[in-house]
Amino acid sequence: MRRINSVYGRVEILKRVLEKPTKQSHAFSASRSFSTEGAYGGGGESQQNSSRVKIFDRDLKRVHRDRAAWLSRNKNDTFVDAVAENLLDRLEDCKKSFPSALCLGGSLGAVQRLLRGRGGIEKLIMMDTSHDMIKSCRDAQDDNSIETSYLVGDEEFLPIKESSVDLIISSLGLHWTNDLPGSMIQCKLALKPDGLFLAAILGGETLKELRIACTLAHMEREGGISPRLSPLAQVRDAGNLLTRAGFSLPGVDVDEYVVKYKSALDLIEHLRAMGETNALLQRNKAKFSIFLSRIFSILNRETALATAAIYDSMFATEDGTIPATFQVIYMTGWKEHSSHPQAKRRGSATVSFTDIHKQFGGQS
C-alpha cells in the first residue's frame, strides 16, 4: 500500500482537466465578491491584513472543529488512527528522545491515545484552534504518565517561544492553514536545535472521486462549477515546503488509504466527524452554504443527488460500497544542528570521481 512518490508524480489527464476550476480559485482570491458571512464571526475578516492570500476561512474551520469534537467523541476513527499510528511510528526510528513535545491541531485525540510512551516524551502540549476539541481531549486523557498541558492557539500564529520544544507533531491539521510555509517556519523557530518536525497532511489526490463526481454533476445540472473541495498540497510541494522552511534532512513520503463507505452520505458524515469539511472562503454561499458538509441537505438538492448518482455509477465497487481515496503526505524535518551531515562547498573535493571508480573496481 505504501509507495514513495517520485517528484514527477503520476499524471492523470482526467483529473487534471477536472481540477482546473479548483486551481483557478487561487487566482480569484483577490476578488471581494464572495466574502465571509457574519454568522461565523466574519466581521473580523475585514480587519485582518488583506495583503496575504486567504484561501481558507479559519473561523469557520474552528466551528467545524467544535462540531467535530462532539461528533468524534467516544469513537475511534480507523483512518485517523492509522495515520496517527504511522506518524508516531517514526518516533521509534529515532535514537533521540524528545522530552518536550508539542502536538498541533488535527487528530489530537488519536495522537494522545496512541502515543504510548514512544519517543520518550515527558511533557506534552496539546494545541488546537477549537476550545471544545481541547476540552474533549482533556476529558479523554486517562494516561497520567505524561505531563500534559492544553492550549488553544492558531497554527498560523504559533504562541510558542523560540527554541523551546524538542518535537512538533501535527497529524492531519496543517492542510487547513492559509500560510503553510509561514506556519512551518514558525514551527521550526519553536523547535530546539536538533528538534524534529513531524507532520501528516492530506495531499492533492484526496477525495479525487468526489471531486470528479461533483464537477460532473455541476456542469450537468448548473452549467458551471464553483470550488467544492479545498486545494491541497501536492507531493512535490511538500519537499519544497520543508526546504523553504529551512528544515534540514527533509523527508517526504506518501501513503494512500482507500476507505469504503456504504453510501455517499456516510462519507460526508465521516468528513464531518474529522472536521474536514469545506472551509473555502469562496465557497458559493448563495446556493450552497457550506458546501461539502451540507451537500445533501441545504444545497441544491438536484445537484447533490446527481453527485451521488455519478459517484455511484463511476466508482462503486462490486459489493455495493463506494471507495474514497485519502492521500496522506508525511513530512519529516529536523532543525539544523552541528551533528547533521552537511554538503561540502562546491569544488572543495580533493579526489576525482574517476579515481574512486578505479579504486572500487570498474563495474559498469
Binding site: G153, D154, I160, K161, E162, V165
Partner: protein, 78 residues
C-alpha cells in the same frame, strides 16, 4: 469525575501550569506574556492585548484577544 474536578481546581489555583508559562509567548509579537491576577488573563504588553484563560486553558488565538485601552487599567478592560 472527581479527577476532572480536581484538575480544574488545581488549574484555577495556579492559573496555568508551569510548562505552559515557560514557553508561551504572544502569538503576534512573539514577546513574553504577563499573567494578570485580577482578570485571570494573559497580557501581551508589547501590543496591549489580553488573552483569556477558559477553564484553565489559555486561548491564544489572535481573534480571542481583547485590545486593552492604553489609559484604562487592565482590570477595567474585562
Amino acid at each position: 469525575m472527581v479527577r476532572i474536578s480536581r484538575v480544574m481546581l488545581k488549574e484555577a489555583g495556579n492559573a496555568i501550569d508551569k510548562t505552559l508559562s515557560e514557553i508561551l509567548v504572544c502569538p503576534l509579537s512573539k514577546q513574553p506574556l504577563r499573567f494578570c491576577e485580577k482578570t485571570k488573563s494573559l497580557v501581551s504588553d508589547t501590543i496591549g492585548v489580553s488573552f483569556p484563560i477558559k477553564d484553565g486553558i489559555p486561548c491564544l488565538v489572535p481573534k480571542d484577544g481583547k485590545i486593552l485601552d492604553e489609559d484604562a487599567d487592565a482590570s477595567k478592560a474585562s
